[in-house]
């Protein structure tokens, strides 16, 4: 048994933590150990840039949206009167009450429900009732510690991230080469911008948060896990006249989940520093979607033919900005990870409107989310069944290790990224190199291939 926490001081041993990740295998404790989960919340979720929301959710001064930056810490995304976007700790500076307990709205100022301390939308303290009681007590209303505390935040093309860390690299550097997929999502808008639209679906998962992330670029599972829905859809489509199925977006969306190993291999996987990765690029399971003619016309008039083709032919499947944000640029939805406990997390499915595109584009995004990424879909529940069974199965001490060998020796190192086959475990290796660096307090590095440990 690896001793990670000192039995007396409960302090973690960084080297032992790092040893839970080997080049091609992981220790099962990563998924089932509550102390490791709590430490992940500090060392990964407290050090990485976490997706908070999108600037289009807070268009006007005073608009706010509340969420959590990890499993506990509540924050407010708010546009202040100067137009700046802030992420504030959602905690009254007085007695500590959560200041805002509604999901979204507009406020001229935030007033605490308990003693009426009132704060500006930039977090500064505006007013304390019956203030004279503080005179001569040493209390200083000007002291910034009496403001709502700001969380370090930054945004890229409207996507707002925040970090509890003072030492994390700048957002731009942290996103690195993986930024190209966020850019592609926005470039797909004829006006070059996206906005949140169509609401959010929240889906409870009885599994460790990492199991969901591992599945994003796992292309060895669809033909097994999703065989039933593909066959059900194809069986039904076969009963229809061809002109009827041509009209249905479902006929484009569902069947690619049954694509062959060769097809998925061709999509490739690309890994970056800090655990980010995507699959697809030249091709993906979204590559053969038909193009809405009004949308294409709008793209042509914005970008011209060559640039439009370039934008739409960059066809990624899932992209992970480790650990909180996963996007589908070709479909214009994102899924946001909200960890809850070692064996529980919540996934939020958000949709985006491509500004300047016809409404049908948003409707297809929403259809996709209902069909694939929801609690009542015919795809997501079969994935979740697998994650839950892993969560149960890893209680077994029959073996301590989970393997990730596939194509280990074929990973290819390029300047700012590692590329590998679409059915490789490069995605997992990329995530767990970042996990090891965050948790073991090691330097982050561009993922590299290497020699097998066997």
């Amino acid at each position: 048994m690896i001793e990670i926490f000192d039995p007396n001081t409960h302090q973690p041993d960084d080297a032992q933590l790092a040893s839970l990740v080997q080049p091609t295998k992981l220790h099962r404790r990563l998924y089932i150990d509550e102390q490791i989960f709590e430490l992940e919340m500090q060392r990964i979720w407290g050090e990485a840039w976490i997706f908070i929301g999108h600037e289009s959710q807070v268009k006007n001064p005073g608009d706010y949206y509340t969420t959590q930056i990890n499993h506990r810490i509540p924050v407010i995304l708010v546009r202040d009167r100067s137009g700046a976007v802030n992420v504030l700790h959602n905690r009254c500076a007085h007695k500590g009450a959560k200041l805002v307990d509604t999901v979204e709205g507009n406020a001229r100022a935030f007033r605490c429900c308990y003693h009426g301390w009132t704060f500006n939308t930039d977090g500064s303290l505006l007013k304390i009732p019956n203030e004279s009681g503080y005179e001569g007590t040493g209390f200083n209303i000007q002291d910034p510690s009496n403001n709502l505390q700001k969380v370090r935040c930054a945004s890229h093309r409207g996507f707002v991230f925040a970090t509890l860390s003072d030492t994390a690299p700048e957002l731009n550097e942290w996103l690195g080469g993986a930024r190209e997929v966020l850019d592609n999502l926005c470039d797909r808008a004829p006006d070059g911008e996206v906005e949140v639209a169509g609401g959010v679906l929240r889906y409870e998962h009885d599994c460790n948060w990492k199991l969901f992330l591992e599945n994003l670029n796992d292309t060895m599972h669809p033909m097994v896990t999703h065989q039933s829905v593909v066959q059900a859809a194809e069986d039904y489509i076969a009963t229809l006249p061809p002109e009827a199925s041509d009209q249905r977006a479902e006929a484009e969306i569902i069947p690619p989940f049954g694509a062959s190993y060769e097809n998925f291999e061709d999509s490739g996987i690309t890994g970056f520093a800090y655990g980010h990765h995507y699959d697809g690029g030249k091709t993906s399971i979204h590559a053969n979607y038909s193009v809405n003619p009004d949308y294409w016309a709008a793209m042509l008039s914005s970008y011209g033919e060559q640039r439009s083709k370039e934008i739409l032919s960059f066809n990624t499947h899932n992209t992970l900005y480790y650990p909180s944000l996963t996007i589908k640029s070709a479909v214009q939805n994102i899924r946001v990870m909200r960890p809850v406990a070692v064996d529980k997390c919540i996934i939020e499915t958000w949709s985006f409107r491509l500004k300047g595109a016809p409404d049908e584009m948003l409707q297809r995004t929403l259809l996709y989310s209902r069909l694939i990424n929801s609690s009542a879909s015919m795809v997501g529940p079969d994935d979740l069944e697998a994650y839950s069974r892993i969560q149960d199965g890893l209680q077994s001490n029959g073996s301590d290790w989970v393997e990730m060998h596939r194509q280990f020796n074929r990973d290819k190192q390029l300047a700012d990224r590692t590329v590998g086959g679409g059915t490789s475990d490069l995605d997992m290796r990329t995530q767990y190199q970042a996990w090891q660096a965050y948790m073991g307090k090691l330097a982050h590095h561009i993922p590299t291939g290497g020699v097998s440990d066997e």
Binding site: G199, R202, E204, D235, E250, R370, S374, D382, E385
Partner: protein, 161 residues
Amino acid sequence: MSDQTPDLRAIEAFLYDEANLLDNPDLDRWIELYSEDATYWMPVLPNQQDPLNHISIFYDDRVMMEVRRRNFVHPRAASKDHAVRASHIIGNVRCSGSNEQGDLVVTSNFQCVLYYRREQRLYAGTYLHHLIQSDKGFKIRHKKVNLINCDAPQKTLTIYL
């Protein structure tokens, strides 16, 4: 469509029959209660107006129902390895007359205790049914399920409510 005065007892009996086909799920028979142009909607917001430009928990037309009923009994759908057992109670059934299409507009309250994956859950809310009335009985053209916790995080739901 016929001009018969709505018979509340007959409507109630029809709703009970539908619930029965969901209690011990038989989607092949359940789908036959629906018209070819039917829709089944479970919004994600209270008072949600739009099923197309806003996300929903369910928004199925007949095509999706046809795929779903085939998937529901497919031996390779691991999420269906666990049987669904449900118990619906329907009450407060009211018919407020006909809409522009001539369909009967029926509202009711429901509670559904559902057992799935070693866990018992409670769903509650209101149903809205648009019923086509003919000499052969009723067909459902539209069913809307308003869950009282529609905007809460949802667990896997492999069956219609």
